[in-house]
Every structure is written in structure tokens, then in C-alpha cells.
Amino acid sequence: MEANENLAFDALSDRIRRRILNVLGEEGELSVGEIVAHIDAVGRTTVSSHLRVLRTSGVVIERKSGRNRYYSLDREGTARDAFTYLQSLLHAGLDAVETSTPRASDAEPEDRGRGAG
């Protein structure tokens, strides 16, 4: 699993970033100020830095209009990352096999039968 493949889902591990995505999902495209108004206890600077992470990770789209920037969900981007994330879980599951595999010499079926009789 390459580090950048998990970028989006790592970005989503933060509670504030998930809250931002929830707001964008429910309200559609919003300016930074409008997003700040929906997020309690976090200031504009913090929201802006979270938005930067989300944009870099490909889960939100930024649109500039005059002096304002507007943000919306990139559903295609997040769907793509869902595949990558699931694949990373399958890889991790198979990687774990290595550490839990009995040594072949210890675990032949015939070995198993020896003590039973």
C-alpha cells in the first residue's frame, strides 16, 4: 500500500474534516465563511487549513470566483478512494498471514494426526 493511496481516507480520520464534509454533503457548494458558520468551536483559520487537506486529498473541489473560494464534495474522488481503501484492507489482511502462518515443517496435516492415536 503506497502512502499516497490512503491519502483521502487518512484525511477523513479527523473529526472536524468529517464534519466539514457532512456540511458540504447536506448544503452543497459553500464559501469558507459559510462553512465556518456551520462548524462550532473552530475558527476560520482552522477550517481553512482543514479545507486545504481535503482539497489536496481529492475529496473536495475548490472553485474561485473573484476574491472568494467555494468548496464542494468531489464524489468521484471519494468513491475512487473507497476502492483504494478496501484494497488496502485486503492487502493488510494478507500481510497479516505472514506473521500468523505456522511454519510448514510444524504444521503438516500428517503432523496434526500424529498425536491423535
Binding site: N6, A92, G93
Partner: protein, 495 residues
Amino acid sequence: MTTFVAADRVVDLPVERAFALFGDPEAPGWLFGARCDRVVPGAAVSLHLPADGRGLGGDLSILGRFSRVVPGARVEIEHTQPWRGRLVLRFRGAGPRRTRVVVQMTLPPSGVDWLMHRAGIPLPEPDDDQAVRIGALSTMSGAGAVFAASSQAMAELAVAEVNADGGVAGRRLALLTADDATDPDQAAREARRMARLGCRAIFVNCTSASFEAARDALALTDVLLVHSVINEGGGETPRAIRLAERPRTQVEALIAPMMRASGARRWFLVGHSYVWSTGAHADARAAIARAGGHVAGERLAPIGATDFATVIEAVQRSGADLLLSSLNGESEVAFQRQSEAAGLRQTVQAASLVLDESTLSHIGERAAEGLRTALAYFQDGPADGNGELLSRYRSAHGPWAPPITTLSETVYEAIHQYARVLHRDPDGRAEAHARALLTRTSAGCDAVGARTLVAPSLYTAVASRAELHIDDVVTTPPSPPIVTGGGRRSPRSAR
């Protein structure tokens, strides 16, 4: 469009040995921590995909059944949780004493939605098609997923049948589904979302903790909330009602008869540390006292607990010869499997309040043998129209769909009965619909589509050879008032 995700790895084992290790209880951590009794078509299986801190936090548990097994070569699993799909494992020789293990998993749109939603991204909003919307909130992931395996499928079947019968007052019924992830906070969020999307009623197929969270979240709305699984009662409001079995009648049906049959008197109670078990154990203590027994000990574990070594030791130390479990889901599976492995069954007879067919299948044949329960519906029970229901369910969801259980059948019934109420009173408020649902019951009726959901009669059953065998029926007095439905009636669903 369904897509595939795949991964592979070579392990230093001969093919036969690699295949034999899959699901072997002696190698519990091997290959997705597969847990099953046997690797044969039809057997229940759970797989565990470790997240190891990746983005979303929790691990991913997959629950399903083997649909195809080619010994030494291939295993196919049809799973329903957390989404419906297929997982295929292939084992191929990769040189002397080496095996390439390939895993392939389908990822349908519902799976993508589930993963995105778990990441915090709201689900896409359905188009406004003028249908009457209702919600089904089910436990599709987390520790409670075992008992809700067929809930969503049965809710879908009920809605499809209502629509095939002409809908509700000339409009289609549309079902919105959501997963509470065995988390009350998530249940509250999903309930609010369903209310925002215009659901008239929400059917909660989750724990009492999730029901209470959803009830509080909807306190100021005109949405009917229906708890449609076994519950301890209490906490109802004019718009939040609770149907299905109650532990008070379950313990009455189980405790005295088990004491009479065994001559034993000392009980141990095992349950969860939340409102469901608190209520159930209070009822159990009263029933035990009435029957002349006593409680030798009690242990409560958090939802999702899976290590019961100290609990089992406490049971053994207590000298109890009878045991009542109100554990549910993954915890009940773990407790019963560990009890059997520790030899507890040799000295203690056990009853379980949430021993539905799905939970039974994950406990497995050996560990479940001899367990007793008392429930209002069994998949192989005698309810009128049950055979036809099973045929329709299998036809809609395939031969490997998880078993119908009392939990999922109650959701099916409740939706049918609500549709009838709504059909007669399409503009009524949630409170009026709640009253109508609570009173529209044919006392003692055991026919699919018109089953009594308020204080239902119970069947007692014992687990044997991986099935629940009914051995008695316990009618619940007093019967609620009979209010037979007028209006339309479908012969198929008795609507």
C-alpha cells in the same frame, strides 16, 4: 456498476495445508481471522479485515455464508454485512510447498456508499419521486450486526410487496436504509437524516440504546419511530413505540420450566451493561424468585465484548447450574463458543434471550447444542403463510441470504401493518398512527402479515444440530384489544 477489488500473497505452506488453515479454530488469526464451524456451503462465516489505524478507525467485519467450496482450491462467500456482495478466496500452488492466496471482493455501489458514509461523507439524497418515504435503521456493522443480518432484506421485501399491492393511498412506498454501526450516536444522526429526507416512519432494528438515541433525536418531529426488535419496554412516547417480544414473557417461558425439568435452582445471569440487560435481568430475578430459585451471580459486559474468560470462571466458581444470557450479537457468539470450549455445558444448562437463527448460525452447531430460547417467530415455525414467505424471500434475495429471524420478520410485519394504517389514514399524524399500530392486532394471531406484535405469544425452542426446534407454545395473557383492519386486504400478505 459492481467493481472488483483484489489482492494476493504467497505463503510458505503447501496448498492443502493453507486451505485447511482457513477457518481452523486452532489458527484463529490466520487469513482474515475467519470464524466458522465448517467450510461447507451454507455454513455461516465471519471475516475480519484489520484497519490498523488506516483512516476510518474501526476494522471491517464481513458476515455471510459459504456459497461454494472447492476443497483445496476455492472458497466463495456471499455476504450481507456490511454490504451485500461476494468474496472469493483462491488457493494455487506457487512452487514446492508454497501457495498463492488470492482474495477478490465485489464492491457494488451500496458498498462504495457504505465506505464513503463511514468516512463521514453524507449519502447521496434520493430523487423526489413523490413516494411515501419510510426508513429502516438496521445494525449492518459493529458488534450487533450478527442479529440484524436479514433485517434490511426483509424491510425491502415488505416494501416491495406493499407496492406490488398498489402502494399506500395511491402512492408508492420508498424505503431509505441506514446502518447504526451499533452506535447510538450514529443512530441519532441517521434518524435525523431520515426525518430531514421526509420519512413518515422509521423502523429501528437496533439495540435499545440506539432506539433511545433515535427517539431523543426525533423528539420534536412528527415522525413515527417503531422499535421492531426484542426489547425490555419502557421509554415509549406517543410517537415512539416498541413492538415484539419482552424479556418478562421470555423469562416466564424459560425459567420455571427449566427448573422443573432439571431440578436445579441456582442461576447465573450474563448480559450487557446497558438498559436492555438491566431490564431483562430485573425480570429474570423476579421470575427466578417466584419459581423458588436464587441468583448465584451476575456479570455485565459492554456491548461488543468478546473475551469472556473471567465471566466463565465466575460462573464456574459460583456453583450455578443454570444460566441466562441476555448478551446479543458478537458478544453472544463469543460467550457461547467460549463457554462450550471451557466445558461449561457439562455442568450448566443455558438459555439465551437473543438466540435467533442468525446468531445461532454464527455460534455454530457444536457450541449451540442444547441452548434454549423463547421467541415469537422461528424461520421453521408454524406461522400460517410462513412457507410462502420463505419462498418469496429466497426468490428476492437468493439461496444464500441469511435466515429470516424473529427480529427481521417483525420488521417485515411492522412495515406491512404500518402500510395498512397509513393507507386508511394517509394524512394522519404520527401519534394517531402509533395508536393505530398498537391497537391493530389480532390477539394471538400467528399468520404472516397479520402476526401479533404487541405482547406476542412465544414458542420455546432448543438448539440441536444447528437448528432451533420448537417444543412448546406459551400464550401471553392478557390479550390486547382486538382491532381488526378494514380497508384493503391482500390475500398474499393478509394486509
